[in-house]
Structures are given as C-alpha cells and as structure tokens.
C-alpha cells in the first residue's frame, strides 16, 4: 500500500440508508439492474497508471483493478472494471463500507449485505465477477491496518 492518497473515483454520494431504500422500492430485477448501472456510471475510470497488471484482481471474466489505501480510520478503495455490471457492484460495495471503520470492515459480511438487497444469485460476489477477491482483499487490508 502506498502512502500518497489517491483521488477516489466513486462520485456517488448515496448513503447506505438511501441505497437500501432504493432497492427496497425497486420493482423487479430490471429496476435493480438500472440502479446498479447508474451506480456503475459514477465509478469513474481512474488514472491509467492504476490500471496495471499489478493491481488486477485474479481469475475473473472481466478485468478488475483495485488499490486499497488506509485513510484515517477507514479504507480508501479505488476500484474499476471493464464490465459495467461489475462497476455497479463495486459501487454497491463502496456504499456499504462507506460509513464503516476499519474494525467493522474487518468483519464485513458481504453475503448478508447482498442478501439484504435481494439480488439475483449471479450478482452476488463470486470469483467470476471478481467481487469475491475484491472483498477478500478489502477485509485482509482492514485487518492488517487495525
């Protein structure tokens, strides 16, 4: 982990509570997808120097890059994917941990979070969409920094 703070590339200001509310109200899978795509749109493409192999999450269908930095008592995560759906899922995750402290991230229950949103099974963290690795890295980084 490097020390200079990178610009966060996620522009959504949605709070966790607002997110839950949105998904609660979403009718049907198409609306949920729409929300995911909208979130993904706010995950901006970071500087090309971050999109390198060293920052790549291994073993998924699409490419996923991530850099995790400690920022005060939480994590600054810069992540990106060439898949729009995965970008949206990353957005969901970033909102979920937005208000969390390192100690809370270290025990973050991703499965429970995605269940709360009642997403289709293939939208939950998996090796194929790369989210599983991303979450594993995030939790490991939090544990490491406590």
């Amino acid at each position: 982990m490097s020390n200079d703070h990178l610009m966060n590339n996620f522009e959504s200001t949605l709070s966790y509570a607002e997110l839950l509310d949105l998904f609660e109200k979403a009718k049907g899978w198409e609306e949920k997808y729409r929300q995911i795509m909208l979130l993904g749109k706010q995950l901006k493409r970071p500087d090309g120097s971050l999109l390198i192999e060293a920052n790549q999450v291994e073993g998924c269908e699409s490419q996923v890059w991530m850099v995790i930095q400690k920022q005060e008592n939480t994590l600054n995560i810069i992540a990106y994917s060439d898949s729009k759906i995965v970008r949206g899922l990353v957005g969901l995750l970033l909102i979920a941990i937005r208000e969390l402290k390192l100690e809370e991230i270290a025990v973050f229950d991703a499965e429970a979070f995605f269940q709360t949103l009642k997403l289709e099974s293939h939208l939950s963290p998996s090796r194929t969409n790369g989210l599983k690795s991303l979450i594993d890295h995030m939790i490991a980084a939090a544990k490491n920094e406590i």
Binding site: W29, E30, Y33, R34, M37, L38, K41, E61, S62, D82, S83, K84, I85, V86, E120, H122, N129
Partner: protein, 408 residues
Amino acid sequence: MVSNEVLLEYQAQFPFLNQSIDKPIVYLDSAATTQKPKCVIDALNQHLLNFTANVHRGGHRLGREATAQFEAARIAVQGFINAKHAHEIIWTSGTTESINQLANILSGQIQPGDTIVTSILEHHANFVPWQQMAQRQNANFCVVPLDESQTTVCMKSFRQMLEKQPKIVALSHVSNALGTIHEIKTLCQLAKNAGAFVIVDGAQAIGHLPIDVQALGCDFYTFSGHKMYAPDGIGVLYGREDLLEALPPWQFGGEMVKRVSVEETTFNQLPYKFEAGTPNISAVIGLHTAIDFLTQFDQSQRLTHEQQLLHAMYDGLLEIDGICLLSPRENNVGVLSFTVEDEHHADIAMMLDQFDIAVRAGHHCAMPLMGALGTSGSTRASIGLYNTKEDIDYFIQSLNKTIRLLTV
C-alpha cells in the same frame, strides 16, 4: 422450412426442454456442449443397470455382452465418419486428449529445425500441444493467419508455409469461436502433397456436418462425444491404419500389451495398442446411441433447419445498432460470435442469463484468434438441432433489451 412435425420430433427427444416449465432456458450454447436426448440417457442407464462389466478381460457372460456392445460402437463410429477400418477408431476422453496423444506419438517424427503448422483460428487444444511440441523439439512453429474475410485461414500464407515442407499440419475443420467451415478438403490435400502428417480437429464439425475421413484425405481426425449429443468423457482419435501401425504407443498399461516380461514388452494390435487402461465403457455405448439418434433424421433436413436458424439469427443481429459480427453468414455450422460497441461480453452474457438465455462469453479458448481480431473476447450464440425460430426471436428481442438496460 422444416415442417413443424419434424421440429417437434427433434424436440420431443430432449427431456431438458420440458424439464423446467416455469423457467425454460433458451439454450444457445451447443458449441460448448450439446444437450442429451433421452435415448442417450437411457442407454447409459441401461448399460450401468444391466451390463456393467469390464471389456476384453473376463470370460464371463456380462463381460462378453459389454465387449460386444463396446466393439459395435467402434463399428458405428467407423461408419459415421467413413473410416476404412474399425481398428482405426481409438477411444479417448475427448478431442483434447486425442490431440495431446497425437502430439506425443508423433514426437519421434520431429527433428530440430522441422516445421509444424497450425492456424490462428485453433482452439487452444489444437494449438498449445503443437506449440509445446515445437518448443520441446526445437522445431519451427508456424501459424497460418486469417485471410481478408477475417473468418478463415489465409490460403496464400498456407501455401507459402507448405514450401517449408512441414512435418505436421494441424487444422480445425470448423472454428469453435466463429463457426466457420474451413476449406478443409483443399487444405488437407495441399498439406498431404507437401508430405506432412495431417491432423484435423473436428470437434465443432461432428455434430453438424457429414464427415468422410477418406474423402478428406487427412491422416488423423479427432472429435468429442459431448458436442454431438453423446455423453462427456468420450472422444475419438481416428488414424490411418498404416500410420497407427507404425507409430509407438503413448500410454502404457492394461490391455494395450500382448506380452510383458521383466526384459521387454510387446504391444497389442490396433486399436488396443493406443487404449491403455479401462476405457469409458458406458460413454462409448452412449456415443453409439447418439450416432443412431443423429442418423435417424434426414441429414440434409437437419442441416437446413440449423442453417435457417443461423440465418435468422445473423439477420436479426445485423439490425441491432452497434453489433459487430465476427462470424460469417455462410459456410458456418451455426455459431455466431459478436461484440457490442461499448459493452463488455461478460455483461451481455450476464444480462442474457437474466432472460434465461444461455450463451457463452469470453475468448472461447481461442486467445490467439481474439488477439488477431483485436478483441479480448466476444459473445457467442450457437445452435443445436433442438433450437427453434422462437428461440432466435426471443434471443434477438432480449439482446435488444439487454443493450438498453446496459446503457442507462
């Protein structure tokens, strides 16, 4: 147009189609593996229930029955691909094993500096074994590029490579990523005239096209059962008798030997010389049933049906903005690979999955080809004989919706 009765007749044979009534799946991934007809499932069951015994070993009644069925399957395959002899049919676990076996038994034929030719359109299974062989033996590895159509091999480059008098030419009959039917007969004849061992990967051809290995003039032809409505875990390596006689076996073990002493071993006759260990007996019997299944239909009618669906799908895709078709419309077994402008193939496939449509996304085990086409992957929809015009219409409609959903 194929009559409705004929289509219903195809469909009636696939329990898969009637299984999930609430959420039927539109299966457009037959190039990866085909669904299995009931007769094949039943044949596996019947074999396991009634005739479980090892083949060519025991002298008992069950063993004799199993052996008879096992050898009858070999004769069925011989007929299906018009091989001269049944003992030219070697059982393997699939195309991948067939080609790896070949790359091993042909090793002794390759000297440093020799040339091995394959093409940029190959599945990794018909690419990496030859590349690795070339590295092992210090041979030249020559890869035939695409022609201007970007869908098949460049004949001009191929001819140039043949001037190096390659020892091995390994090409696919049909491209798995694009569906293109290559000019395989011409390619084989040119390669034979140049004095090469000619290997054809028929994995994508076998479930669609009539195959005549003698007319093709290849030395070896390989395919997998699971892409022709048969079980997985069974494949075929066809080899010309005189070559198989002359080449050494690769794997050693039970049934492939004639006599073993502490000092030496003599090998069994063809085809057993190349079949060490207990084979996948039930799958062999399932493969026989799949051949009977396929041959019960009028071949040209079956192909016409698949071609009509292919054309409907191609024309439907052409009408969607931003679609780039990588596959040809003609000379195609029923595989359409495409990319969508600004969209990731994984997103397209994931969204189509939401619509209960099964397609494949990725590099299709053909990374050299994807590189040559300048893409990291594509979405691939492929047709089997059970697909219908409704499947295609629903696919096109859902793909339109998919793109709309992805571009909020």
